[in-house]
Symmetry: none
Subunit: 117 residues, 2 copies
């Protein structure tokens, strides 16, 4: 599992970290049940603070993609199927673009509903 970070990016480091893992799951680089690198290890590898990595991991947990337990580390949930992760990413991209355009939730969902019909 490879996580790359761009310190010059306007995107927060923790967001970059969670995005990298998210993508890894979506593309299949990371298998369900697989353990992510320890927060302290990854932090050292990226030249970043422990708390920054932890925050990224906790974002993934909030999305239901990984489980975090002391002593065991971060583990990709078995029900976090790659396809689902891919879908989640597609939703993410759409929502991001919609936000950029300032569209409301109903406007976007209406577009999706039409496209699905």
């Amino acid at each position: 599992m490879l996580v790359r970070i761009d310190p010059d990016s306007p995107a927060p480091l923790h967001a970059q970290i969670s995005a990298a893992v998210r993508r890894g799951i979506a593309v299949g680089e990371i298998a369900p049940g697989e353990r992510l690198p320890g927060a302290r290890d990854l932090a050292a590898a990226l030249g970043v603070n422990l708390h920054t990595v932890l925050r990224g991991y906790q974002e993934l947990r909030a999305e239901g993609l990984v489980e975090l337990r002391r002593g065991r580390g971060a583990q990709v949930r078995t029900d976090a199927a790659p396809a689902v992760a891919a879908l989640r990413q597609a939703v993410h991209a759409l929502v991001g673009e919609a936000r950029r355009l300032g569209l409301s939730a109903t406007e976007v969902t209406e577009m999706v509903r039409e496209a699905m019909a």
Copy 2:
């Protein structure tokens, strides 16, 4: 042309302003060639600083959506084609992925609705 702002949103005010105008152009509320409200007026109407509005306007200029000139104000460029193309692309990608997974329209729209919240 209506511009609404949420001071409690994590999104910067200048981004919210540019997004509102962007949306107006995308949806057709604002016609090409139309003049946007003066920065000082809009700032007063929104209870926001002049510089904040100006920054939003300048973002739109950087995207080639509007022209800014002293004395004349902000004008929507006639060739400001709806940037909705990117949005439609995102919708297309999402729908394709959702179909591949056999998800229903309501399931997908619900995911989008959640992600937009």
